[in-house]
Symmetry: C2
Amino acid sequence: MKFTIQNVLTVTDDAYATVDVQIVDGKIAAIGSNLDVIGTVIDGTHQMLLPGFINAHTHSSEMWQRGAIRPLPLELWLAALYEFSQLNLEKVYLSALGTAVETLLSGGTSVVDHLVLIPGQEFETIAAAIRAYREVGIRAFIAPLIQDESLTAGIPSGETQQNHEPYFRSTAATLEIIEAVVQQFHRPDEGVSILVAPTGIQLCSDALFTGCIELSDRYNLSRHSHLLETRAQEKLAQEKYGCSAVEHLKRIGYLSDRTSLAHCVWLSEADIDILAETQSTVVHNPLSNLRLGSGIAPILKYQQAGVNVTFGCDGASSNDSQDLLEAIKIGSILHNVTDLDYQQWITPRQAVEMASLGGAKGINFADKIGSLEVGKNADLVLYDLTHLSLLPRTDPIGLLVLGRPSNVVNSVWVNGKQIVADGRVTTINVDDLRQKIFHQSQWDTQRQSQTVAQLAAHYRSVMGLNQ
Amino acid sequence: MKFTIQNVLTVTDDAYATVDVQIVDGKIAAIGSNLDVIGTVIDGTHQMLLPGFINAHTHSSEMWQRGAIRPLPLELWLAALYEFSQLNLEKVYLSALGTAVETLLSGGTSVVDHLVLIPGQEFETIAAAIRAYREVGIRAFIAPLIQDESLTAGIPSGETQQNHEPYFRSTAATLEIIEAVVQQFHRPDEGVSILVAPTGIQLCSDALFTGCIELSDRYNLSRHSHLLETRAQEKLAQEKYGCSAVEHLKRIGYLSDRTSLAHCVWLSEADIDILAETQSTVVHNPLSNLRLGSGIAPILKYQQAGVNVTFGCDGASSNDSQDLLEAIKIGSILHNVTDLDYQQWITPRQAVEMASLGGAKGINFADKIGSLEVGKNADLVLYDLTHLSLLPRTDPIGLLVLGRPSNVVNSVWVNGKQIVADGRVTTINVDDLRQKIFHQSQWDTQRQSQTVAQLAAHYRSVMGLNQ
C-alpha cells in the first residue's frame, strides 16, 4: 500500500512548508519537495496535513447519556449517571462507533477509552468496543475502568461516620479479568492496546493499584487513571492517606513515563513537581471540568514545570460531545484568565503539538505516532483550508485552533489506511449508525434522580454549601 | 404569506410540547394542537422549534483577521488588529455576509454589529453592511463603532505621563454622521435598526456619550457600548473619573433598559446593583474574554442581582468564529467553576432563554421577538433532532446547549420569511461567498507586529508584569 500526498501545507518549527509526503506500508517514507510519485496521488493543494490528535481520555458508553444530566458536580452527576438503565453489548458497540466517528471528524486518529464494563460481561464489553474500533479503523487504547470500592466511598466523610457497601467483585477477581483481557486483546501492532486503568484513588484500594502496576510491568502496558478531578477528591485523599493523592501514588509506584492522568485539577506545587519528576502525563479535559464545575486545571504551571500535557474529551455525558477541536480550543484559551502574563499563554502551535505528540507520549507511543516524521506510522489528517470556517486565509493553525471549524476534515489515515475521504467515514455506514442510535433511545425530558436527592444533603454538608 | 409548521417539538416552562404553529404575515398567529393547516405545510416531526437567538455583540469586519493574531491581552491585541491593511467596502460587505451566515447556521436570527467604520467612508461602510444583512435576510442591529480619543488613551498611564494624539475627527462631526445615518437607515419595521454605540469609556469623552444619549432619546434608539472588559480598563476608569466606569455612566445617564453593555468582566458589587437598578443588559462574550485573557465575567452574580444577561460572539478575530451555540455553551458552563453551589449554575433551558428573550430585551425588542408567542414576529429556528450530534434522544435542549451540535439548523425564518432551508442559506450563494473570501485573502503566517512591540513595555509596566 503506497501513496503520495502532493503539494500539501505542513507545519515546521516556526512556519509552514508546502511539501510532498510518501506513505509506504503504513509508514511515512519521505517528506520533501518534488518527491517522486509512488502509488496513488492525493492532491494536497489548499489543504493542511497534521499528525492525528489523540482523544486521550473518554468513556465511550457515556454517549448514551449525553445531554441528559442537569448541571451537577462530579459526585452527584455520577450518582445520576449510575441510575440510567443498564448498558448492553449492542449499546457499547454503537457508542464506541459514535465516539470513533466524532473523534475522527474533529482531527483525532487515536482514542483512549476508559471503558465502563458491564458487570458479569467484562470480557464481552471490551470485545464489543474493540470490534467497533477495528471496524472504523481508528487506533484504540482500551483502558478498562476498574474499581474495588463502592460509589459512596468516593465522597469524603467529613465529620460523619460513613459505612459503604463492599464492592460486588473482589480485587483479585478484577485483576484476573484484566490479565485475561490483556492476553486476548492487547495487540499494539494491530492498532489495539490495553492499558491498566483503575478509576482513581477515590474508588480503588492500594491492592488494586499495585496489582495494576505489576500487570503493567509484566506486559509492558501503559497506565491510566483519573486524578484529583474535584475538590472533594482532594479532601478524600487527605482523609484516606493523610497526604495528597499524588504523594500516595508516587509512594506506591503508579507514576511513570507511561502513566497518563485525567483531569489533575487540584494539585499543589509539590504535586506538580512529582508529576514532572516521574514524567507522568496530564490529560486535560477542559469541557468536562467546566461542565461539572470541577475547576480549572493549572495547565500553565504544568507546562512551566515541564510536565507533558495533552487533551481529552472525557465521556460524552460530561461534555457533552466528542469534538477534539473544541477540547483543544477551550483547553488552550481557558488558561489566559489564570495567568496575567500573556507570554505564558498556550499558542495555537503549542496546542497542536500537545494534542498530537503530547498525547502519543502519554500512552508511550511517541516513537510511533504524534508527528510528521519519516519512519513514524501514517496516522494523518488532511484539513480542507477552503472551507468557510477556515477562511479567510490568515494563519491556518490559528484558524484551526482558535476558530470553530466544522466539516473541515477532508481525509484521515490510520496506519496508512484511509478511513475518511471527502469528509466522510468510509469504513462504516454512519447514516445506519445514526438510525440505530435514534431507535435505541427515547426522548426523556422529565428525569428526576432519586440517588442525587439522597446524596445531596451529605454532599452539601461536607462541601460547606447551604442546606 | 402563510404557513403551518406541524407536529414540532417546542419548549414549555418545565417540559416540552408537540404542537402546530401557524405563521401569518410574518407573525406567529397560533400555537396549539391539531390546528388547521393554513398555507404551506412544514413537517416538524423529529424537529425542535425555538425562537432565534440574538448574536448580541460582534464586529463583523474582524472576520478578515480571524486566526491571525497570537494570544495577547485586549490592549495589545487591539494594536495588532489596527495594523492590518485597511478595510474596504467590498470587504465590509463580504464579512457582514459571512457573519450573518455563521450566525444563522448556529441558531441566530438577529445580529448586533458594533461596526468598525472606514474613516472618511462612514456612511458607505454602514450602507455596505446593511446591504449584506438585507440580502441574507437576517435581522440587523447596526451599532456604528465610534470614539473620539486615540488608541493609546485606552491604556492606563500608571505613574507615567502619557501624551496622546488627538483623534482625527471631532466629537461633533461624529455625532452628525450618526444622526444622518439614523435618518437614512433606521428602519426597525424593515429589519434594520441603528443603535448609538460609543466604543467605551476607554476611548470616548463624556461629550460623545451625552451626544449619543441625546440621539437615543430623540430617535428612540437602543444604546450599546463595551464596558469594563479588562483589568486595565478598570484602572483607567479610576484614573479618568476617580470612580468606577459604571458609576460614571450612571451619573451621565447612559444606562437604561435599552442599554446593552458588552463584556462587563470587572464590575464591583456596587456596580452590579447599578446595572440591576437601571435595567441595563450585560452581553456576555465568553470566548473572547478567554481568548484575550480578559477574565470571567461574574454572570451568576448578575443573575442573582436580577440583571438581564445575553450572549455575543464578539468580533471574529477575538473568538475566532461566529458560532452562537459555542458562545452559549461556554458562556453557561464557564461559571460552574466560579461558584461551588451547583444550584446557582445556569441550566440549558435558562441559557436558551438568555440567548433569545434576554437578547431581545437588551435591544428593546422583547415585545417583538425572543420567544414563541402569538403576536410576535416569526424569527424562528428549526433544529433537526435526528442529526448524529443531537443523538441519542435524551433531552433536546441539553444536547443543543451542552453538546457540540453542527449542521443541525434545518430551517430559519426571519419575520416569517424562510432564509435557511434544508440546512442551507437560500437567499445568497454561500459557495460564491466562500470563493470571494478565499480570493480576497492570503495566508500570512509570519506576521510580527511593530505596534505590539512598541506598546508592550508600557503595558507590562502598568500591569505589573515582568519586563
